[in-house]
């Protein structure tokens, strides 16, 4: 049974029309692959919600800052949509093809020697193309309170199943 990522994501979010939702429910009963992909979506969503709860990314400013870090290639990519749903404010998520991601560090500043030095910050993702899979770019806390850039790929269609 072939079910697109977009369809599963809409089903997971309860936004699929009744007829297609019935088809997915039938598929879930008879195809382990569909069940596994739905479980992956649920787990990914739980993880993001946990992260939001732990980090308190809740104020409008923080959500906008987080949203700027999130990139997605497709408008309805499953994993990206979950991240975006958790992090983004409307219109703040940049759709990407082979495009830049708006998490570049500030402009270089001059050192005391007059040389241009990069301002401290996490690794900047200049461009990303997630190909056929949904994905997201975000940051988590690393060592010494620094931020580490994460590129997360939704590989739920993998033979080995992501989650």
């Amino acid at each position: 049974m072939t079910v697109s990522d977009e369809t599963l994501m809409l089903f997971h979010d309860g936004e699929l029309d009744a007829e297609r939702a019935r088809a997915v429910k039938v598929g879930r009963l008879h195809h382990a692959e569909v069940t596994a992909r739905l479980e992956a979506l649920a787990l990914l969503g739980d993880a993001v919600r946990l992260w939001v709860a732990e980090t308190g990314v809740d104020t409008a400013v923080e959500r906008r800052q987080a949203a700027r870090r999130v990139g997605r290639r497709r408008a309805l990519g499953a994993g990206a949509a979950l991240f975006a749903a958790a992090l983004a404010v409307p219109g703040a998520v940049t759709a990407l093809g082979r495009a830049g991601v708006d998490n570049a560090p500030p402009d270089p500043v001059l050192s005391t020697h007059g040389e241009s030095v990069a301002a401290p910050g996490p690794v900047a993702v200049e461009a990303v193309d997630f190909g056929a899979h949904p994905g997201a770019v975000f940051q988590v806390e690393g060592a010494a309170k620094s931020e580490t850039t994460v590129v997360w790929l939704d590989d739920a269609n993998s033979d080995s199943h992501a989650l």
Partner: protein, 157 residues
């Protein structure tokens, strides 16, 4: 530890110039750690305790992290070193530019065994000592977590 292999170089090969690749100075070195995240309730490998990221965000959804391998990708402009991952896919890297201020611009990609692209393009700009993570590929009831660290200049000998 798997040895990275250089492919598709636009420069004359080191062998033809009479110098071995081992003695050729890298312009940047990326340390690659390949981790396996699962739900086996075995905790985090002691060798990974320096990675607080593994307890943050989506990574916290996994309770077990094991270090599968560690490798060095020695980068020079024009070279495209690759590294085969445990799931059969291939991680490709390429040094794009060394910028003023010490920043390094590099490109990574992940290809399927058949050659088609899984992650067609990831271009980043990093300072030496910084790391970034590429995670989410399915592998043996878990996921692979690739931790890529741009090593200090001293590693480029």
């Amino acid at each position: 530890m798997q040895t990275p292999t250089a492919t598709r170089s636009s420069r004359p090969s080191a062998e033809r110039l009479g110098a071995s690749a081992a003695t050729e100075r890298a312009e940047a070195v990326v340390e690659l750690m390949v981790l396996h995240a699962t739900h086996q309730k075995r905790g985090i490998d002691a060798r990974l305790r320096h990675l607080p990221e593994l307890t943050q965000g989506p990574f916290a959804a996994f309770d077990t992290y094991r270090l599968l391998e560690r490798a060095e990708l020695r980068l020079r402009r024009g070279d495209k070193p690759t590294h085969r991952l445990p799931n059969g896919r291939v991680l490709g890297t390429e040094l794009i530019a060394l910028e003023k201020g010490g920043a390094v611009r590099l490109v990574a990609s992940i290809s399927e065994p058949g050659g088609s692209a899984f992650l067609p393009l990831l271009e980043v700009r990093a300072q030496r000592g910084q790391r970034f993570i590429v995670a989410g590929q399915g592998y043996l009831r878990g996921i692979l977590v690739l931790v890529l660290t741009l090593m200090p200049a001293a590693a480029e000998r």
